[in-house]
Symmetry: D2
Subunit: 412 residues, 4 copies
Amino acid sequence: MAESQEIELRGHIIDSGIMTQLFDRVMDMGGNFEILVFEVGKKKTDPSYARLRIAASSRETLQSILSELHRLGARPLKVKDVHLVPAEADRVVPKGFYTTTNHPTQVKYCGEWIPVQAIEMDFLIVVNPEEKIAVAKPLGKVQKGNLVVVGEQGVGVSYPERPREQSTFEFMHGTVSPERPSETLIAKIAKEILEVRKNGGKIAVVGGPAIIHTGADRALAGMIHDGYIDVLFAGNALATHDIEYNLYGTSLGMDISTGKPVMGGHRHHLYAISEIMRAGSIKNAVDTGVVTGGIMYECIKHNIPFVLAGSIRDDGPLPDVILDVMEAQDAMRKHIEGCSMVVMIATLLHSIAVGNCLPSSVKTVCVDINPAHLTKLMDRGTTQAIGIVSDAGTFLPLLAKQLEIQSCAAKK
Amino acid sequence: MAESQEIELRGHIIDSGIMTQLFDRVMDMGGNFEILVFEVGKKKTDPSYARLRIAASSRETLQSILSELHRLGARPLKVKDVHLVPAEADRVVPKGFYTTTNHPTQVKYCGEWIPVQAIEMDFLIVVNPEEKIAVAKPLGKVQKGNLVVVGEQGVGVSYPERPREQSTFEFMHGTVSPERPSETLIAKIAKEILEVRKNGGKIAVVGGPAIIHTGADRALAGMIHDGYIDVLFAGNALATHDIEYNLYGTSLGMDISTGKPVMGGHRHHLYAISEIMRAGSIKNAVDTGVVTGGIMYECIKHNIPFVLAGSIRDDGPLPDVILDVMEAQDAMRKHIEGCSMVVMIATLLHSIAVGNCLPSSVKTVCVDINPAHLTKLMDRGTTQAIGIVSDAGTFLPLLAKQLEIQSCAAKK
Amino acid sequence: MAESQEIELRGHIIDSGIMTQLFDRVMDMGGNFEILVFEVGKKKTDPSYARLRIAASSRETLQSILSELHRLGARPLKVKDVHLVPAEADRVVPKGFYTTTNHPTQVKYCGEWIPVQAIEMDFLIVVNPEEKIAVAKPLGKVQKGNLVVVGEQGVGVSYPERPREQSTFEFMHGTVSPERPSETLIAKIAKEILEVRKNGGKIAVVGGPAIIHTGADRALAGMIHDGYIDVLFAGNALATHDIEYNLYGTSLGMDISTGKPVMGGHRHHLYAISEIMRAGSIKNAVDTGVVTGGIMYECIKHNIPFVLAGSIRDDGPLPDVILDVMEAQDAMRKHIEGCSMVVMIATLLHSIAVGNCLPSSVKTVCVDINPAHLTKLMDRGTTQAIGIVSDAGTFLPLLAKQLEIQSCAAKK
Amino acid sequence: MAESQEIELRGHIIDSGIMTQLFDRVMDMGGNFEILVFEVGKKKTDPSYARLRIAASSRETLQSILSELHRLGARPLKVKDVHLVPAEADRVVPKGFYTTTNHPTQVKYCGEWIPVQAIEMDFLIVVNPEEKIAVAKPLGKVQKGNLVVVGEQGVGVSYPERPREQSTFEFMHGTVSPERPSETLIAKIAKEILEVRKNGGKIAVVGGPAIIHTGADRALAGMIHDGYIDVLFAGNALATHDIEYNLYGTSLGMDISTGKPVMGGHRHHLYAISEIMRAGSIKNAVDTGVVTGGIMYECIKHNIPFVLAGSIRDDGPLPDVILDVMEAQDAMRKHIEGCSMVVMIATLLHSIAVGNCLPSSVKTVCVDINPAHLTKLMDRGTTQAIGIVSDAGTFLPLLAKQLEIQSCAAKK
């Protein structure tokens, strides 16, 4: 082990599992380590501290290992300033550019640590030297002359800590299993939602059209009406079928109250889109009394913003749908800002898109009937995620009910 | 088309889809047909009648086609007596033996049509000439000298008719989709259960251990307590975890009320089995106050019979488990007799086993989180089957609730 | 049954299952029917003919039934001209507009039947009276003054016939099962591909990134190289990971040849996108020798057009990706024209999008590891569809092998 | 933290992830720890050593924590003899009995460590004081007077170490993903099989009937013929459909070579069972030339033992099927002894049953089309398990091919 370097980690490195990941990675990559200092925080609120010497047989392997440990929050004992290289042209960035994690990140510039704004996974970091500001940017938005961070030097990652008091998000972390006590879990999620609200946190919902098809739209509309939701992310299908149901009592041509297909019902979604086109927008349709209930109606009535992102399988689409996918991403980002919790229901496409934009601190609840979808969603670097294999049509009504029961109980 | 034969069909052959299947099979098999008579029943209660000439290019193909049509209820205009051949030895049966469908079946013997008793799919028919009785028997129970029906001659199948008034079972028939209005569907199933009860019908439940793991055991125990269930088919795991929950508050070591694993909880299922072994049986454990609640407790308290069928993955097992799989099948058959409805929840093994024994007239409701399991279950020849992709933990509590609401409403 | 009307059907109405669907729908909707004439084609090539009287208790029900039968190809004995109403404004269409099926369709105008061009499901029909041309258009492209067909009067649908000689597409029709003889099936699909090529048919592939992740990219690149594919429909992910693999030997940071993650590999996909951004386009990157192999390389080298449709979960994206989803749909439509066969592999989003644009006559093969995805894909009105539950990583290499074996055998 | 105790761990405690699990459990359970000694092995072959003080706020919590750590191999510094209590009656065991892991285990008796024989998960340990032998026994086999270990005192668990050189089993450990390079993975598994054979290791296959339905039977029969398999675990269905295919060319009535259903084919599986009943056993049927090929034939011809375990969904069953599930378990155990590797293909029931009986050192490869089944199988405490989401029909032929290629290459 010819090459070695000392690194240090601070924080709740035991509870959060960082230490264990660190050991594993070093060993996986053929390196070795020596524990120089290891001070475990005495009280729950005390951070721990560790200093280790990482060794490897070659300079290159050592760099690879350090690069991985960097992403867990490990830092060399002495950190130099970030290395900045200007972009040659719009979207043409320097080789070896640093790519971000979705954890809080700082860069050392002129000897000072400055936080990276708008952090998101797989972005670049651009530093504005005059204003001493560092901002995370997607590759496609880097402009000529932007000073881009290259390499890991001078970049610090704050790997999220797992608080010692276990919340629902901790005990479920990373697991997706249909064999969980469903009602217990729903009650816990309702509790978390009320907690987030009490603390002034912002809650987003990402939803797919199965919410309408399974008859859970009333539950979701009720939750919007009652002020539990701050922003809705969805696509053309959810909005279309919601409006179809309000106008014709059907969803994809099926009568929700009987579950039976209605004659001529296959036309209803197109008729619904046509009505909104005629009105000019969903808002106009609500304002003029064309649409009188449902999820979109409650959003309009309660000034809850929504982003309807376009997709290549859209019929119509509704005039409110954002056709350009990058514009849609920007709209999502704008509304994600400040969210503390995101509930994702029965949509893989929109959930992954929103998940991509989330910092790792946001709590996410993913509900899908397909365990494989949940596995994909949970694998996105969120540290506080719950995956529930369930049916939107039974999950949402039970959640709405729990919110009602628990908020009544709280008022007493 | 050198070879041809006339056949006839009677009954609700249009509504039940028999006519359409018949057309398809003839064409699929390279045959041809001519409609000689086609009288559609004028009123809902009137049967239809069709006479067709089936033609094929060879005698062999014609026989194959007629053999398929036979299973749909088609008969030659003139039916001869069944052909009977004695079994050479126990389990050694004549070649070309007739294998049954799960539809009501008759054999023509001495010029008379006699019904086949205990009909079940993939059985043989044995005729007792003295008593003029025909009984369906599994291959493994045919005894030396039994007169076994060979070929289709003289066998008549009554393909089940689909009544014109559509019930829930008709409109859902054969479809498995997670995108159905869940609450609507659950309300309909509650209605069917109450209907069956009102008409004196017998209801069976087939259940897997996920009922306990997802916290739906209270709902099922309640339904047994309230008299909705007449027999329970399950395995060692459901009973063990039900008792584990009653004794230790855990299921597979997880605390159902918090959803968290309990220290040392991995031992609880073995401790539960040990307690029942000590008592001698579940009944003894209930009678002596060891077990004081849960699904098995309610079965014992309300004299609801249960069949716990053994499987090779069993721990223990409990003393009540039937270890011999053929004995377990016989026990299931005994209790299936007279059932009008079977609700299958979250178990593939036990549901297929019970499904194999059901005559086609029994209504079945299959609930599973895995659509592939439902597809397998629905493909068993039951003509009135509903497949619901849902989570036992949300489905059963909502069903129990609906039963309560609807039965209260009915009393008023 | 106070109200009745006579209708007629022509063609292979038995083989294609039309007759059977017709019976079912009439009965499902509470109507009744009387068969007035039923002439079954005597030879395989002869069409059949049926005339029926459809009856219902009310004018409204009768209309509903006739409207459904219309979509199966049934027509009144005397057909009047289509009813045309001008669009008030762009995208504002007359109420009760006719919505298309994906079957060949004709409209009667000035007493003549004229074919509807560019037919696609859920479109409107616009008639140009001067040129006597009828074109299917999506709702969003109807312009002020366009004469839009309203109601079903004067519209004729040619429900696709199922030829009596059964091909692979017929025998598998509509079924999705993992329990099929896989190698047999792959050999059959290879045979169909060679058949289509021999007859000058055009073949499209729709592919997802799992093709790269599972190491099946070489097989697909080989098929493009060997001239089996005419157009590729995919998204940013497939192209990015294909190029990542060519540049760095990884896919999503995993070394395809060893299956292990590569240090720093999580950056490779962004580095790959950056290289293409620097080059300006995939074509430039191939022409300047930056990209030297893979699926996209083969497309460029052999002038195979590709459509990379944008989605909201895209990183980057590559400069070749079409960001506007409606533009992407148009690009897909342009290249779908003239396709006889589409092979869809491991992508739900792009497969549904392409499937939406297909006329019902196009043969489709859908391969996915998830049976639920196949069920969704098969349910799109294509009459010749095969669903195969399989793994791209084993399916494509075996298919490429079969194509090689069978084409060699054919040359001998 | 009033209560504390010192424990020690030895071995490859870093590489194997034991240390990291230990930290997590202590924290999860509200305890605390202090690292007293931590010596990391300098060379790959050197074991590490750690001594920690575990603290908790109460005696009870501390015991719970120590009980969990025990299962990871941690031991108190001074170990006392095991506590033995005689069983009151057959199957009636002392309260608080120790339940085993599937890791190598020792008990301290009369001051000496003696190994526990026949270790398997969820068993009890019985000590024979005369012969100084300790044996693991299932609850149901404990006899009156047997001395049963109670509590963890004196029991030592050797948590399996993960060797530093990573094999296929290490890098895949615990992950189930359809998005892996399939051919690469299959080549690696072939390499492992050849490695096991070279070292004289025993290989078992657990298989479901989908092997026959998907046409992979020839590949498996070939592998048995070529001497790669030492024992086969399956059920009535695999054997029946294998024989059906040999006798009639069909599997579940479908012609494997064309993939089409054969007329009357639904009877073939019963006819196949009937033939074996007539012969008396599969062996007799092979010896008398009734069965002339297939998986069972190769087993008989090459003296490869098989266990056909009965299940409640069996038709027939074949005379070779073991009807009593506990007898079947014993038969499985007998043949599992000495196995180094188990390949589980397309059966959940039999795979779980076999998996239950495996010590943790056995390598397992699980292949299933359903990722949820793999998740269940991988969750059984095996430390070297690979889960592959794939189709038996493509996986097995590719594996057989790789075995051929690699074994040829090895001979050169």
